[in-house]
């Protein structure tokens, strides 16, 4: 199969340059359909980037995931690190404080706009 594909970037959405694109799209659409209903853990699917990766690695022969009309947000191989309760608590508090900081920055930015307007 790899003979039919031309190497492209795995981390972008660039359309691959294909020697016989129509045939390959049909071929991989068939794979995609089967995988979407039967076996989403098939190693042919690499979903951390929205691509189909024939070589099974993060670079190599790839096709845009969107070709299969499948949700590209499924990440069966994504690593979800376990954290301690203390880390989780800390993360939650940091998220709260950062959100409040962003909100305040937005207010400051808007305030500058209205002050400028008042000076006209």
């Amino acid at each position: 199969m790899s003979m039919d594909l031309v190497k492209t970037k795995s981390t972008t959405y660039d359309a691959p340059i294909l020697q016989d694109s129509a045939r390959l799209i049909n071929l991989y659409a068939g794979y995609g359909k089967a995988l979407s209903t039967q076996n989403r853990t098939c190693p042919l699917i690499f979903t951390d980037t929205p691509t189909l990766n024939v070589s099974g690695t993060s670079s190599g022969w790839v096709m845009p995931w969107e070709y299969f009309n499948l949700p590209f947000s499924i990440k069966p191989f994504a690593k979800e690190p376990a954290i301690s309760l203390a880390q989780a608590r800390n993360l939650a508090i940091v998220v709260l404080l950062e959100a409040e900081k962003r909100r305040q920055e937005e207010s400051e930015r808007e305030a500058r706009f209205w002050v400028n307007l008042d000076g006209e």
Partner: protein, 211 residues
């Protein structure tokens, strides 16, 4: 001034002011999801694919807030929608430099007509507002109606009086009725160039008749 104090058995109304309403924040890209004995950092999109409830560890801050549901909805709805109340300094940062009555008059009247994102709440020790406060329409919260009703005596600290709530509901509706538009659309070519010199932050694009 503009506040009144309903008895605990009076129903919740638009303009009721509560304290200790939780404002919850979480990062959808890094949710601490509790699975069994483990806590995993997960992306919400992955979590949502499971299509069943999950337990997430989040942080909450108790804040003051005002009911924005109209009165008929308040009677029936499961969740009450409220807008956060914060100090004027937080909501309108430039107000911190305001010292004179004339300055405050300008902010409270003129600025509030132009900038529709907030609603002014004056100082009143009876409601424990020891600073000038403002409703921030950008921050909408939800709380269980049943819970609020059960705890009105502890959570409701007052309500806007009749005249204040009339102004409040008008401002509230104005805020959500707004829509964006390019204010330079009626300027002629020369006026547009002046506008661009004065205000352009890189996103001012002329209409065809302004080039």
């Amino acid at each position: 001034m503009i506040y009144e104090f309903p008895r605990p058995d009076e129903p919740i109304c638009q303009g009721d002011i509560f304290h200790y309403i939780p404002r919850i924040e979480f990062d959808l890209g890094k949710l601490p999801v509790i699975e069994g004995e483990k806590i995993l950092n997960k992306d919400w999109i992955n979590v949502s694919k499971i299509n069943s409830p999950v337990t997430i560890l989040v942080a909450a801050r108790p804040v003051e807030a005002i009911v924005i549901n109209q009165n008929c909805d308040v009677v029936r709805t499961n969740d009450i929608a409220l807008c956060e109340i914060s100090s004027m300094e937080n909501v309108i940062p430039y107000s911190r430099d305001t010292k004179t009555p004339k300055g405050w008059m300008s902010i409270i009247t003129k600025h509030s007509r132009e900038n529709l994102k907030w609603f002014y709440l004056p100082i009143d020790s009876t409601i424990h507002f020891n600073n000038r406060m403002a409703v921030d329409f950008r921050s909408v919260l939800h709380a269980s109606r049943i819970y609020l009703e059960k705890n009105l005596g502890q959570l409701r600290i007052g309500r806007l009086n009749k005249i204040a709530v009339e102004h409040f509901r008008e401002r509230l509706s104005e805020y959500f009725r707004r829509y964006p538009y390019d204010e330079w659309y009626p300027l002629n070519k020369v006026e547009f160039e002046e506008y661009r010199k004065d205000k352009d932050k890189g996103d001012t694009k002329p209409f065809p008749y302004q080039t």
